[in-house]
């Protein structure tokens, strides 16, 4: 691998670091009486939102339909994921410095697998919150579940929910892109 291939791979390795600077995913809620909207920001290591008390406000609204309260402590992922990301960054840098194409390939597969597992896990949580409802909930709509959308828009009673990946996820995408590029470009025959 030439220097610029390695440079690309360094870039690829650092890209997932964006997860520490930006949220991975954002869920927007809008309702007639919430003109300002409510935003839940899912980070690699925490839950946050448009205001400090966004979780409390989500939970107050959700308790009417019997959804379990969301607390950051309930998610082991938030504790584990940062280590995985750091591990991937370090591994990517090692691959870059060693300049081994196979390592680059292995890294990109690992990164994509990590991303995929993350998405599946995210979906399972949404499903869990949306369907595991307290039977004593004050508001019960027969056959209604409240699984928030994973991607895109969905109307849940008075709330229009919109779910979109945020800049943090772009880091993973860029990681895949740059490393694939490094892998592909470095495959050219030497005497072309």
């Amino acid at each position: 691998m030439k220097a610029y291939h390695k440079g690309l791979m360094v870039l690829a390795a650092l890209s997932p670091g964006l997860l520490f600077l930006f949220p991975m995913w954002k869920i927007y809620l809008k309702a007639p009486q919430y003109p300002e909207g409510l935003e839940l920001h899912i980070w690699v290591n925490k839950l946050a939102g448009s205001s400090e008390s966004v979780l409390q406000n989500f939970n107050i609204l959700n308790h009417y339909i019997g959804m379990a309260p969301i607390h950051a402590e309930s998610f082991a992922e938030l504790k584990i994921m940062p280590y995985i990301v750091v591990f991937l960054v370090v591994l990517g840098l090692v691959a870059a410095f060693l300049g081994k194409r196979k390592l680059v390939l292995g890294w990109v597969i690992l990164l994509m697998a990590g991303g995929a597992v993350g998405l599946v896990d995210f979906y399972l949580w949404l499903h869990e919150f949306g369907t595991n409802l307290n039977p004593q909930a004050p508001i019960k709509v027969p056959n209604m579940t409240y699984i928030p959308p994973m991607l895109g828009r969905k109307q849940l009673l008075n709330f229009e929910a919109l779910s979109l990946p945020a800049w943090g996820s772009l880091g993973v995408l860029l990681g895949v892109l740059f490393s694939c590029l490094a892998y592909y470009l470095s495959s050219r025959p030497k005497a072309a």
Binding site: S53, Q56, N57, I60, P69, H71, P138
Partner: protein
């Protein structure tokens, strides 16, 4: 065919309205671009123009806030301008059952005075705090006329946060006037009284008015950062009635001017007794020099007894302190500090133009409006151009300080403000009109009738060096037929007038609460961005606050039962309370755990000889209740907070005195924690 005609019919008026709106917009743009080529078109388009000029579309915000005093309701009403929408009522000197102000334990001390708890006052003059001679949108100072007090409203929360009682004063009418950077807020007495030199009024024969009665002018220092007030010193002045005041600006920035009446010093039937002299006085005080004299040891000190009530930022509780002394200056010992200018008899408003050069005196019984010159006053001081003195205070010769007289302005001039474009606008109480006149040639330029008998008018910033010369609000004392009749007692009326052109144009007529004596206006962007949405629970330092439902408690201490409880959509914790006995004093300390905008919870309990209390998110308020009979007493949330607001209720069991029912409290039967517990502190 039938339906088509109907359709056509329904469209036509809409088209008409659109055309009118479009015409209005066009004309407006004419107005702003040039001086209006065709005055006739403007005149004929007044109606359409007026509607569009005050139309603030649903969901849109007004251009300005206006603060209208409520007079005898002791409150301030906040209206959006130009729409005339009522935005808020701020209780200041009066108990306000609507939200528990003056009823709950936190705010009751705000209404404490040396006379005890005074639940009412007559609020006359709102004045916005200032920076560099213009309004800065931080605080609103207001006066209590009846039991002399000056209060401060915080404009981030629109709450009354401080109150200073004024000793040696009676009828705090000539108040509160801030200097150009809030160095001082100045408060003068309307009624002179015999001073006992212990901060109160002495027992004197009413026939001794001339010898024993004195007035006072108080100088309240304002903390630059936080606005906290402190009565720095007073000036004891001759026993006239002090009516209104206004500070100088620019060259006259060190001065404050006061109108006086009853220079006859009549103690009875003042209607006649105070109207005998042809001239009363305009008093001029150099506040900077006064402050210097006070600092240099010219001040005397007397014992006093007055309250200073202040809301603590962290606990949101009002604490009262009793002040035991006050410093005072005597004008006769402080040369150069105070002068008297002869003015037409029984003047009301004294208004200084934006440049600070002209002082306009509104002599309500006079046939002309005298305009005094600050430059001439300075010259007269230099040349000692005096015409005797009163109590050691030099009196100028009328002519030596007079700049011009506005002839035949109308009948009963009361108050004047300025548009910053060289014009002045005066209310004529008797001829019921607003009169526009020029500061260049002192001639009347325009007049417009108002309905009826205006007291004060307000141009936003019209009392500062930078008026917002687009609107004028006339506040009238007589309403009669302006609105649908409501029995003998009517709201007062106000008119919004467009003063952006050569001719004044009536735009809007709206009723106002109680009796606005004066108002302030300010661009919305000086206040709106700083408006607090809710209080942060983790900054709540109230000693009885409960920040987690797990920590609620009901405790008995002798015959007092303390309930430390919480409210959140849509339940109280606890909502079942037992062990209270007849005759106990129960204090409910309710913390609203919500941390979202516009989610107050109310609290009220059956049979309470008290009001409700309305608790804003993140704050704690306490309501006192003394049950007088056994039984079960429901309490509930009074502010429709959520879809399950009607379910937000609870019960207190009251047993007979000496009963052995133990203190017990809970929420929910099976689960100790309700479905949505607040996450805070978990």
């Amino acid at each position: 065919m039938e339906t088509r005609i109907n359709k056509f019919k329904s469209i036509v008026p809409k088209v008409g309205l659109l055309v009118a709106l479009a015409a209005g917009t066009l004309l407006q743009s004419c107005n702003s671009s040039g001086k209006g080529e065709d005055a006739n078109i403007k005149e004929s388009a007044v109606a359409a123009d007026a509607a569009t000029a005050v139309y603030v579309a649903p969901g849109k915000h007004d251009e300005l806030y206006s603060f209208l005093s409520g007079g005898f309701n002791g409150q301030v009403a906040v209206y959006g301008i130009p729409s005339g929408r009522l935005l808020k009522v701020i209780p200041v000197f009066s108990q306000f059952a609507e939200n528990g102000y003056g009823y709950n334990e936190e705010t009751r001390p705000m209404l404490m005075t040396s006379h005890g708890f005074v639940p009412w006052d007559d609020l006359h003059h709102p004045k916005l705090s200032r920076a560099n001679g213009t309004t800065d949108g931080r605080w609103l100072f207001v006066n209590g006329n009846n039991t002399p007090r000056v209060a401060r409203v915080d404009l981030t929360t629109f709450e009354t946060v401080e109150m200073m009682e004024i000793p040696n004063s009676a009828g705090n009418h000539c108040s509160p006037y801030p200097t150009n950077n809030n160095e001082y807020v100045i408060a003068g007495t309307r009624f002179s009284v015999p001073l006992d030199m212990k901060g109160g009024t002495g027992d004197a024969s009413l026939s001794e008015y001339k010898d024993k009665f004195r007035g006072s002018i108080s100088f309240i220092k304002v903390d630059k950062e936080h606005g906290d007030m402190e009565l720095d010193f007073q000036v004891l002045v001759p026993g006239f009635d002090y009516d209104l005041a206004n500070g100088g600006k620019g060259p006259s920035g060190d001065w404050v001017f006061f109108t006086t009446y009853n220079s006859e010093k009549s103690g009875t039937l003042k209607e006649l007794g105070a109207s005998q002299n042809d001239r009363d006085y305009l008093a001029a005080i150099n506040w900077k020099l006064a402050a210097q004299y006070a600092a240099e040891g010219k001040a005397h000190e007397m014992p006093a007894n007055y309250y200073h009530n202040k809301m603590d930022h962290g606990t949101h509780r009002v604490n009262s302190t009793v002040k035991k002394k006050v410093r005072y200056l005597l004008p006769e010992e402080c040369p150069g500090m105070m002068y008297l200018i002869p003015a037409p008899k029984s003047p009301h408003g004294i208004d200084v133009d934006p440049s600070g050069e002209y002082m306009v005196v509104n002599g309500k019984l006079a046939s002309s409006l005298p305009v005094f010159s600050f430059t001439k006053m300075q010259k007269a001081i230099q040349n000692k151009d005096f015409d005797g003195e009163v109590n050691g205070i030099p009196v100028f010769k009328y002519e030596s300080v007079l700049h011009a007289e506005v002839k035949e302005p109308g009948l009963g001039p009361l108050h004047t403000e300025f548009d910053g474009k060289g014009n002045a606008y005066s209310t004529m109480f008797v001829s019921s009109e607003v009169v526009k006149w020029s500061l260049e040639d002192f001639k009347v330029k325009d007049r417009i009738p108002v309905y009826y008998s205006p007291g004060h008018l307000m141009i936003p910033g019209g009392d500062t060096k930078e008026p917002y010369g687009k609107y004028l609000i006339a506040m009238n004392k007589v309403t009669k037929d302006r609105y649908l009749p409501t029995g003998p007692e009517l709201l007062h009326s106000a008119q919004l007038i467009d003063i952006s052109g050569d001719k004044m144009k009536l735009l809007l007529d709206f009723p106002t609460l109680a009796e606005p004596h004066y108002a302030q206006g300010i661009a919305a962007n000086k206040i709106a961005p700083n408006s607090v949405k809710f209080f942060k629970l983790d900054q709540n330092k109230h000693p009885q606050a409960v920040k987690n439902e797990k920590d609620v408690s009901v405790t008995r201490q002798g015959r007092t039962v303390k309930v430390n409880m919480t409210s959140i959509r849509s339940h109280f914790t606890p909502d079942n309370i037992e062990g209270v006995q007849v005759g106990d004093t129960v204090i409910f300390h309710v913390t609203n755990l919500e941390q979202d905008w516009d989610v107050p919870h109310g609290f009220a309990i059956m049979g309470n000889n008290n009001a409700e209390t309305l608790i804003m998110p993140g704050s704690t308020q306490s309501l006192r209740w003394v049950p007088k009979q056994e039984g079960v007493f429901p309490f509930y949330c009074t502010d429709f907070c959520s879809a399950l607001h009607q379910e937000m209720q609870g019960y207190v069991r009251v047993s007979k005195r000496g009963s052995n029912v133990p203190i017990k409290f809970s929420t929910g039967v099976k689960k100790p924690a309700p479905p949505a517990t607040a996450y805070i502190g978990k």
